[in-house]
Amino acid sequence: MLGLGKKDTTLVLLVACLTMLAPFLLNPFPEGSAMAQFNAGYPDLMQRFVIFGIFAIGFNILFGLTGYLSFGHAAFLGIGSYAAVWMFKLLSMNVIPAILLAVVMSGLFALLIGFISLRRSGIYFSILTLAFAQMMFALAYSVLTPITGGETGLQLAPDDPRVLDTATSASGNIPVPGLFGMEMRDTAKLELGSWVFTFNVGYYFSAIVMLISFYLAIRIFRSPFGMMLRAVKSNQQRVNYTGLNARPYTLAAFVISGMYAGLAGGLMASMDPLAGAERMFWTASGEVVLMTILGGAGTLIGPVLGAGMIKYMENIISKINSDILHSWFAFLPDGLEDFMVAIVYPFIGKGWHLTLGIIFMLVVIFLPGGLVEGGQRIARLFRRKKQAKGDDASKAKQPAE
């Protein structure tokens, strides 16, 4: 279907189901229950899941296929965000032009930076991209404050021109990004018993964009272009002596992944119209690297899983405080309750970094292929069980020796 193999079609359909049903899947615990803390089905986080998913998918096109490890990809995310916010400021609050400009601008920057950085490979390439991104961060944070808003970030103001839109809404507030009348923040709630499910326009918009990006990424992976990129990763010498010019291939991959990053940045600004320079800091670039590896570099779905994992930790684990802990362990006798809280406390709330660090280590030690490998192992386990059953059956048929 859609020019994909059977397996890939299943994967796309699966991802489509998961994203469309995310408001249900991510809110498994009833409101008000002790476990409700772990619910992730609120618009902001769901949007973040898919937006960072896009970012990671794009990064993986470069890193997973060509092996070029860019350490400055967050720069393109930042550019996308700035471009989108400027579009909101100058033109209109419709997200389409904003996202388009975001993609175009980040593509242009990627072309420039890629053209220069791809003259080197290996670690030298990584440091070149890092250097560009750090320069852009530094400039955006300080010298370019008039364009970027500096430390505070670029935000909308009531006195923006917004030529195709009103500068302020009827209520005197700054209008919010929307899509032909639908506001990105519009939300419908569905209450079923004590469960509350939230359906948000912005989320579904981003999710559809993510699905399209995911589909395109699969097509790229399975295309001759993808094969060339893998060849470049495997043996660049041979590529050159086979009459192929490796540079345009890698550059194309770089630009595509830069555009994905810009798309993510544009979406981010569309969900929340503020663009901050920290988005471009090296830790942000490092984060997407970690997402990709954590999920499984070079795999299709891995980066999305990795992105989800890290964002979940950041937003959910960090918000658990000692009060909540006490309420969880309230059923225990007092001494034991305090003891349990004392044990768990360093790992949650302000200790969420610690948990994250430990998870990084555990995953990479025990699941060298990332989370995807974990999934595969589980699948294999099941298959083996099935097989074992099958074997038993076939053995039973054989006559005893």
Binding site: D44, G153, P158, S171, N173, N315, S318, W352
Partner: protein, 417 residues
């Protein structure tokens, strides 16, 4: 029942969102803010000794929660990044149903979260944010700041500096290269130049700088006799440490002892600079050694609960929580616009800084400002700063359209959904 605004509380409880840095360089400051918030919640719900609720001039608060709803809270981690801060604020609003967001320890975060709250239709009570912009060009109708700002620091410091160091000084500014640095430099320059000081140079330093030696070394050569460090947090600790290392304070220039000034002091950070703060002037919003009844009550209840005195960040966060709760009580509604109206132009006393006004035009509090100095012989490990002067509020008040605060507009309050 209230309704018609974002997260209108329906049950018997009301949820506040405390958004503080729990990781990153300001984690300790954030931890102190969180302590203050927990204390405030305890007091609002009628627990503990009531703290400053007893000294507060408004008596609307009963110790039975807010509008008889028990106060609950959720916490988030700003990481001192505007993106992360907005994400956690959003999750508190969208997921936890927080009706008010408060906290933060940097102006970038405050401005970003303030804009978010404006959009979402909840009240934002800023924590520690000192940049002029928060209530200047980036002010918002749903946002309120109790903390003082760069302009006030300058206005308070200048006369004290003039009397201590004379009016004929040549100042050399090192300024953190971002918004807060810019406004602070501008404010200090304006007020010191007004009393006759000359600014020989102002050099911007990268935020990520850790070693300031190459910025400090040329200071003496420039003929300056005073160094102003428009730095905060880790930058301040490092630049001050470096400056003292270079022995600047032992030098004589233009026949005067060389002096260093740190416009914004924070006790937590001063501790990081150790001995180096001794004798160095700066300003602060509040200090635990203040002897008014309110401050004493606050230090008493905080100190008893946690074993050490509160920081200025803790103080401002505690006060902001009480002010919010009080405004809701007085307005009789949680609706942001009602609360905002109750806060605008509200005059109060008994929260540690003397008589205070929440100005309606820009949602900035006007109150006394403390000029402090690193203490030469501290009595104990918390006794790092001594109060040199309590600058009266009149001296630090400015017109809403003051050029340092130009641009931007409050807009109108937003009740959200």
């Amino acid at each position: 029942q209230d309704s018609g605004f974002t997260n209108a509380p329906t049950g018997s409880t009301v949820t506040l969102g405390f958004n503080v840095p729990q990781t990153g360089p300001y984690a300790d400051e954030g931890a102190d803010e969180l302590r203050a918030y927990e204390l405030a919640v305890e007091h609002l719900n009628g627990g503990g000794d009531g703290g400053m609720m007893n000294t507060f001039s408004s008596k609307a608060l009963q110790g039975n929660g807010i509008l008889s709803k028990k106060v609950e809270y959720v916490t988030g981690d700003t990481q001192t990044k505007s993106d992360a801060a907005r994400a956690s604020a959003k999750s508190m609003i969208e997921k936890d149903g927080a009706i008010m967001i408060t906290g933060g320890s940097s102006s970038g975060v405050a401005v970003a979260v303030q804009a978010l709250c404006q959009e979402a239709g909840v009240i934002f009570m800023a924590g520690l944010t000192h940049s002029n912009d928060t209530t200047g060009k980036d002010k918002r109708a749903n946002g309120f700041r109790h903390f003082f700002n760069s302009y006030m620091s300058g206005a308070a410091l200048a006369p004290v500096l003039a009397s201590a160091y004379g009016t004929d000084r040549k100042a050399y500014h090192l300024t953190a290269d971002y918004n807060w640095g810019y406004t602070t430099e501008e404010a200090i320059r304006a007020s010191t130049e007004a009393m006759g000081w000359e600014t020989v140079a102002a050099v911007k330093t990268p935020l990520t700088q850790t070693d300031f030696s190459s910025y400090i070394a040329p200071v003496l050569q420039s003929g300056a006799d005073t160094l102003v460090l428009n730095h905060y947090g880790g930058n301040m600790v490092n630049s001050l440490t470096n400056a003292v290392q270079f022995g600047l304070r032992d030098k004589q220039v233009n026949g005067k002892d060389f002096q260093i000034i740190v416009p914004l002091y924070s006790r937590l950070m001063a501790r990081g600079a150790g001995e180096n703060v001794k004798g160095i002037f700066g300003s602060t919003n509040w200090h635990w050694s203040l002897q008014d009844e309110a401050s004493k009550a606050f230090v008493q209840s905080f100190g008893t609960k946690y074993g050490f005195p509160p920081s200025q960040a803790a103080h401002t966060c505690y006060v902001q929580t009480l002010l919010y709760a009080d405004a809701v009580e007085r307005a009789g509604s949680f609706a942001p616009c009602a609360v905002a109206e109750a806060l605008e132009g509200f005059e109060f006393d008994g929260l540690g800084n003397g008589k205070t006004l929440y100005r309606a035009e820009d949602h900035q509090c006007f109150k006394d400002v403390l000029v402090v100095k690193g203490k030469e012989n501290p009595d104990n490990e918390f006794d790092l700063l001594e109060i040199v002067e309590v600058t009266p509020v009149e001296q630090v008040t400015y017109a809403p359209d003051h050029p340092q605060f130009a641009g931007g507009a409050l807009g109108s309050c937003n009740n959200g959904a």
